[in-house]
């Protein structure tokens, strides 16, 4: 019987190639989407889950009032927290502190120099976390102040073989912390692919404490990340309640709330709003899972619609089989196996598609995914395929087999109103989803375009930024002086951190006329050099910018407009305030400029000027003379730092990276939208062809009675255009709500005008018209005699 049905099926495919193609193209694209997204999602979900004690591994966070009525969450803590957790909190089994270097460090063995990203971590680091330690003892590897632990890659780079590295010395220089010492390699670790933290080397935390001024170690400082391994069966809520006032008890002037969040959650749920964990990447994980399933669903709908619409072609078979003794169950089984066969065939095509798309997909998502046939994945994908087959086959199977033999054999099957409604409803559903995606794509695109072209308050174009390394640590001023003279260079200066995020913040400052409420106001601040404001093209509102007058600059301060407004200063220039050091004179006020992504509003900000803290140099070059400028700068850099690569970046590129997540969403949703609309149209194409065939007699009679071809075309297309219109009514309001919700997270956003929705509707209508119109014209042109003669 199986062989028999298979034969029937194959011969049917041969006869109705177009339906088969529509189904296979749709289903395999849908399945490919699901497989890709599944790979991506499982990779995202596996992030940081490799740690052995992952279930009990927590990060210590603090909620701090921003002085404007809401809470800001910090993930960093004072090193005092580490000792306190280890000694005073019985619920904590182990804890570790990590200080991450902001800038890369310079590592040197003999003549070989490499730049690498590192951290300083306390003794228990390798016991709390489960980064595999290839050599070295996890209990002692970070105890000696002069030791260093290298990544396998770094060790191989320096010493050829990892086994050679142990006991060798390596010189490490780090500008920001002014470390310049020789360390002995004590161990080698590996960072797994699915770790969210990436680092090349670890120094002992003792080194951090050695370089830290003991006076600077206070409860409200925020130097290190603290991780704690809680004991088994610790109730998190109760524990968080107990710990909330911990810092306040230690220092009653520090009003901060301590709480613990699961470490492995940080990657997907890293966003905090007003002190609460609100999500993060997980939003996109969920979003794309839903979208992929929808694309597959659209393809399933095609299958259902085409099979039921073309039921007449299979009805005779059903009738005859029933008459010779087939029962309904065996027929349902037959149709379900057909759809299962189709979906598994589609899966094979999908696998090829996935392999084809994978490189592009990896570029978009920034991952290294591969299609590995591993147990759980295979079974999940097979299950999805099985469900796809059952879902798309179920309706046709039940529909086709329910008819009475006598009626079927007489060919008297009229689709009931309900069946037509289901078929039309499914088409409406398809187009609603497609429309939703089109609106989403255009809104995301326009918003990204907006944030990237918005006036940020400074000019990000043609600005190079690079790290202050090696010789530049001591002779930065000489370098800048010479750089300014080079042809093609407009101006040059330096700054602490980068323009895309002033990572430092502080509070507890005093100024004349301060109110009780504004006492806790948090300021972003950065140290910048003379000419910085000019180099960046930031506008002064009043006063002056820094000029080269060391050490005088260290008692001056420049604020931004927002700071002055929130502080309530009437005549800021010349006012003496206490901020990051007593008795600072305000010498200037700059107009507001954005230093974060446009998710955030502009914060009160202070520009200070102290050379030691500076980590980056910024150079503005002339538009059109980039090449000359860069060649000259490279030469100059080589003079100061012979043998070092001039590793610079453009500020506007860096700026774009702020929106990398959005860029990904934008690109991915573009692909998904195109696929959704294509698959929907394939289905519509099939339905239109069927409808034209079904109405052949009607068309012929109308034609004989004198209806023109254009009238007929309009009549035939109208049927489907109506459906697309209905989907607009359903989907446009929903997409409006979703778009508003998405945009609400940006402090600066485009306004949603009707154009987006009209545009999307026009695209959908046009594509639908195009698909259906061809069929309609073809049907209208047919010679009516042929159709009528058959009667």
């Amino acid at each position: 019987m199986l062989k028999h049905n298979l034969l029937l099926y194959l011969r049917n495919i041969k006869k109705h190639r177009s339906s088969f193609l529509i189904n296979i193209v749709g289903l395999s694209t849908g399945l490919a989407c699901v497989v890709l997204v599944y790979l991506w999602v499982s990779d995202e979900l596996a992030m940081d889950k490799f740690h052995e004690h992952e279930e009990r591994l927590y990060q210590v966070r603090r909620n701090v009032s921003d002085g404007q009525g809401s809470l800001v969450t910090f993930s960093s803590n004072s090193s005092l927290m580490l000792t306190a957790l280890q000694q005073e909190v019985p619920e904590v089994e182990m804890a570790t502190a990590v200080y991450e270097f902001n800038n890369s460090a310079r590592l040197e063995v003999d003549d070989k120099k490499l730049s690498a990203i590192g951290s300083m971590a306390s003794e228990d680091f390798f016991k709390v976390f489960s980064y595999p330690l290839l050599s070295g003892d996890k209990n002692t590897v970070l105890t000696d102040v002069n030791s260093v632990v290298l990544s396998l890659e770094l060790a191989t780079n320096f010493f050829g073989k990892a086994s050679e590295a142990i006991g060798k010395t390596i010189s490490i220089k780090q500008g920001g912390q002014r470390i310049d010492e020789v360390f002995t390699v004590a161990g080698i670790f590996e960072v797994p692919e699915n770790s969210s933290e990436k680092f090349d080397f670890l120094l002992p935390y003792k080194t951090f404490l050695k370089y830290r001024n003991p006076d600077d170690i206070r409860w409200y400082s925020n130097s290190s990340s603290i991780y704690a391994l809680l004991r088994h069966n610790v109730d998190l809520d109760a524990f968080n309640n107990k710990m909330a006032d911990y810092i306040k008890k230690k220092n009653k002037n520090v009003d901060e709330q301590v709480f613990f969040t699961k470490f492995s959650d940080s990657y997907l749920r890293g966003s905090f709003e007003n002190g609460k964990q609100v999500g993060g990447r997980i939003t996109y994980v969920v979003l794309f899972s839903i979208v992929a399933i929808f694309v597959l669903l659209i393809a399933c709908i095609n299958f259902m619609n085409l099979s039921t619409a073309r039921a007449s072609r299979r009805l005779k078979e059903v009738g005859v089989k029933k008459a010779v003794g087939a029962n309904r169950r065996s027929l349902i089984f037959q149709f379900l196996s057909e759809s299962l066969l189709l979906s598994f065939f589609a899966l094979v095509c999908a696998c090829f598609l996935v392999m084809l798309i994978m490189p592009t997909f990896n570029t978009i998502t920034g991952k290294q995914l591969t299609l590995v046939l591993e147990g759980q994945m295979v079974s999940t994908i097979l299950l999805i395929t099985l469900l796809t087959g059952l879902l798309s086959g179920s309706y046709p199977a039940l529909y086709l087999t329910k008819f009475n033999v006598v009626k079927v054999l007489k060919g008297k099957i009229n689709s009931t109103f309900g069946e037509l409604l289901v078929r039309k409803g499914l088409v409406v559903f398809q187009f609603s989803i497609s429309l939703l995606l089109i609106v989403a794509v255009s809104v995301i695109y326009m918003q990204l375009d907006y944030v990237q072209s918005k006036n940020l308050g400074f000019n990000k174009d043609n600005v190079l930024i690079f790290e202050r390394q090696d010789a530049l640590t001591n002779s930065m001023d000489a370098f800048l002086e010479q750089a300014r003279q080079l042809p093609g260079v407009v101006n040059a200066s330096y700054m602490q951190g980068g323009m895309t995020n002033f990572s430092n913040s502080s509070r507890g400052h005093t100024w004349p006329g301060q109110t009780e409420a504004s006492k806790q106001m948090t300021f972003r601040h950065a140290h910048v050099g003379p000419e910085f404001i000019e180099t960046m093209g930031i506008e002064m509102k009043e006063g002056r910018s820094y000029i080269d007058e060391k050490p005088d600059n260290e008692s001056k301060i420049i604020l931004n407009e927002t700071a002055v407004k929130l502080m309530g200063l009437e005549n800021p220039i010349g006012t003496i305030i206490d901020m990051r050091g007593p008795n600072r004179e305000i010498i200037g006020v700059v107009k507001d400029f954005n230093i974060q992504s446009l998710y955030n509003e502009i914060a009160p900000m202070a520009l200070l000027c102290r050379t030691e803290w500076v980590s980056n140099l910024v150079i503005k070059i002339k538009a059109g003379e980039e090449k000359t400028a860069i060649t000259n700068l490279t030469k100059l850099y080589d003079k100061f730092n012979p043998g070092l690569e001039f590793d610079f970046r453009f500020l506007d590129n860096q700026y774009q990276e702020l929106y990398r997540a959005e860029q990904r969403v934008s690109t991915l949703s573009k692909y998904f939208a195109v696929m959704a609309i294509l698959i929907s149209c394939l289905g519509l194409f099939g339905l239109a062809a069927f409808s034209a065939e079904r109405r052949r007699k009607e068309i012929s009679i109308r034609k004989v009675l004198g209806q023109s071809i254009s009238q007929l075309t309009i009549m035939l297309s109208g049927e489907f255009v109506k459906l697309v219109m209905v989907s607009m009514l359903i989907s446009l309001p929903i997409s409006y709500l979703l778009a508003t919700d998405w945009l609400s997270q940006f402090a600066y956003k485009i306004s949603l005008h009707a154009g987006y929705f009209i545009g999307a509707a026009a695209v959908a209508l046009f594509v639908a018209m195009f698909t259906v119109g061809g069929q309609a014209i073809k049907a209208a042109h047919k010679n009516p005699i042929n159709a009528l003669r058959e009667e």
Binding site: M1, H4, L7, L8, R11, N12, K15, K316, E317, G319, V320, K321, A323, V324, G325, A326, N327, S330, N404, V405, V406, L409
Partner: protein, 221 residues
């Protein structure tokens, strides 16, 4: 006694009125009979045939087939009954276009739990008996109408039914093809003892049978 219909009524409701398709039909069919059902269009011939074939139900009356009371049977039993004892021949043959002659013949056996080797033997036997061995790998569209109906009859007979129901089996055939099919029916009836009930418009075809049942407006006349 093969089957017995007692006071069979079948109706549909249309526009508040009850329209009778079959009205008080009483019919007894003995094994080995060859009955022709005649009557003008709309007189209920096909309906009667479908009722006898259990493809269609009825609203009132009793229907006994062999020892079973069909009117009391559940759908499943009923279909088992007709599967085992009844073969159908249709006016428009109703062969499956996607299957070859051989495969079309094999199809009824698939639903009756015959083993593969058994099925092969039965199909080969049938091809032989109807002299269509040379056509076994052709598709129905490659055959003439008469040949297609030949296959149709062969398919109806393959599972050795007691009763053949034929609804205008020659309606789509020319006179020579008709004669051949009717001769075949007669031979089956006389030599193999197969009971046949046919619906026909043609007096000539009706004459092949042993008894004629005339219908008018759903009533036996």
């Amino acid at each position: 006694m093969l089957l017995q219909l007692n006071n069979i009524f079948k109706w549909v409701n249309s526009g508040g009125q009850r329209i009778f398709l079959l009205k008080d039909i009483n019919l007894e069919v003995e094994e080995g009979e060859f009955i022709s059902v005649m009557g003008p269009s709309g007189s209920g011939k096909s309906t009667l045939l479908n009722v006898i074939g259990m493809l269609d139900g009825f609203d009132e009356g009793e229907y006994h087939f062999l020892d079973e009371s069909v009117h009391n049977l559940k759908e499943k039993h009923r279909s088992n009954l007709y599967k085992e004892y009844i073969g159908f021949v249709f006016q428009s043959y109703h062969l499956l276009d996607e299957l070859t002659v051989k495969e079309n013949l094999e199809m009824p056996l698939l639903y009756k739990k015959y083993k593969g080797a058994e099925r092969k033997a039965m199909v080969a036997d049938m091809l032989d008996r109807f002299n269509i061995v040379g056509k076994k790998d052709l598709f129905p569209t490659q055959l003439s109408g008469g040949q297609q109906q030949l296959v149709g009859v062969a398919r109806a007979l393959i599972a050795n039914p007691k009763l053949i129901l034929a609804d205008e089996p020659t309606g789509n055939l020319n006179s020579q093809q008709s004669e051949e099919i009717m001769a075949l029916f007669k031979k089956l009836n006389e030599e193999d003892g197969v009971t046949i009930i046919q619906v026909t418009h043609s007096e000539k075809n009706a004459a092949y049978g042993s008894r004629i049942v005339n219908l008018l407006d759903g009533r036996k006349v």
